[in-house]
Assembly symmetry: C2
Homo-oligomer: 114 residues x 2
DNA sequence: AACACGCATTGACAACCATCGATTCGTCTG
DNA sequence: CAGACGAATCGATGGTTGTCAATGCGTGTT
C-alpha cells in the first residue's frame, strides 16, 4: 500500500475519511516496538537478511516473518530473495511520505491561535 | 507521555527496546482513522470544542471522548476546560518530535545501498 | 535423489481495542 | 435549588493483533 499521492499534511486541512484510512494503516505498521526495532535495524545496516533479525529481535522466526510482511505490505521495506535468503531494504520514499503527511510545518500550524 | 528526549532518528542506529516501546505508543495514537481526522480537525481549526467534533466525525459522544483521551495521553493535543466546554489544541512540539524520530534524513539513509 | 536449511503459512490462544448505551460528574441557568 | 447540558466513565461486545508450535514450500548441498 502506497501513501504517496494520497495524504496532504494533516495540519493543513481536515483529512478526508479515505485518506485517514490509508494514513492510519501506515502508522499502524509503525505502532509496534518489534517492527520499529526491525525497521531500525534494516535502516541502519542498509540491508539485512531475515536470518540475522531473529537473534537481535529475540522473537521466534514466524513472528519475525509476520512483522516483515506487515512492514512490506505498508511499503516501508522491500525484500529481495537471493538464494535461500531474503534481504530487506527500507524504501525511503514511503518513509518520506509518512514524514510529509505528519506535516513539515507541524510547528507552524497551531501558532495561528497564539 | 512525552516522546521528546527519548527517541533518536530510527534510521541512524538500532533503536533501544525502551525507545521503541515509547515510539510505538506514539504511533499507535496515530494509527486510527478517526483519531487522524480528529487531530486534523483540531490542527486545521486551531482550537475546537468537543461538542463540535461529534458531528463531523460521525461518532457517538463517548467514542469521541475516548479518542481525545488517547490523543491527549500521547501528548498530541491538550484540552482546556472553559465553562462546560472543553477546547482542544494540538501540541506542535510533540508532533515535531515524532516527525523527527521518523528521521528527517529518511531519504538519505538507504541511499548507501544504491 | 535425499537431505538440510531458510522462510512462509496455518491454526490457536491471549491480549488489546474501537464502539456505543447507560450512567455519573461537573457546570451553568432559571 | 432544580433542571439542562457537555463531557467523562463504566460495561459489554465484536473485531483485531502479537505470539509461537507445527507444518509446508523452495532452494542449495552432499
Amino acid at each position: 500500500m502506497r501513501v504517496r499521492d494520497c495524504c496532504p499534511p494533516l495540519v493543513d486541512a481536515p483529512l478526508a475519511p479515505a485518506d485517514a484510512e490509508r494514513l492510519a494503516h501506515a502508522f499502524a505498521a509503525l505502532a509496534d516496538p518489534v517492527r520499529l526495532r526491525l525497521l531500525s535495524l534494516v535502516a541502519a545496516a542498509g540491508e539485512v537478511c531475515s536470518c540475522d533479525l531473529v537473534e537481535p529481535l529475540d522473537k521466534a522466526q514466524p513472528t519475525v516473518s509476520h512483522h516483515t510482511k506487515v512492514l512490506a505490505e505498508a511499503g516501508l521495506i522491500v525484500g529481495e530473495k537471493r538464494g535461500r535468503w531474503v534481504w530487506w531494504r527500507v524504501v525511503p520514499d514511503v518513509v518520506d511520505d509518512i514524514h510529509r503527511a505528519l506535516g513539515s510545518a507541524a510547528g507552524a500550524s497551531a501558532t495561528s491561535t497564539h
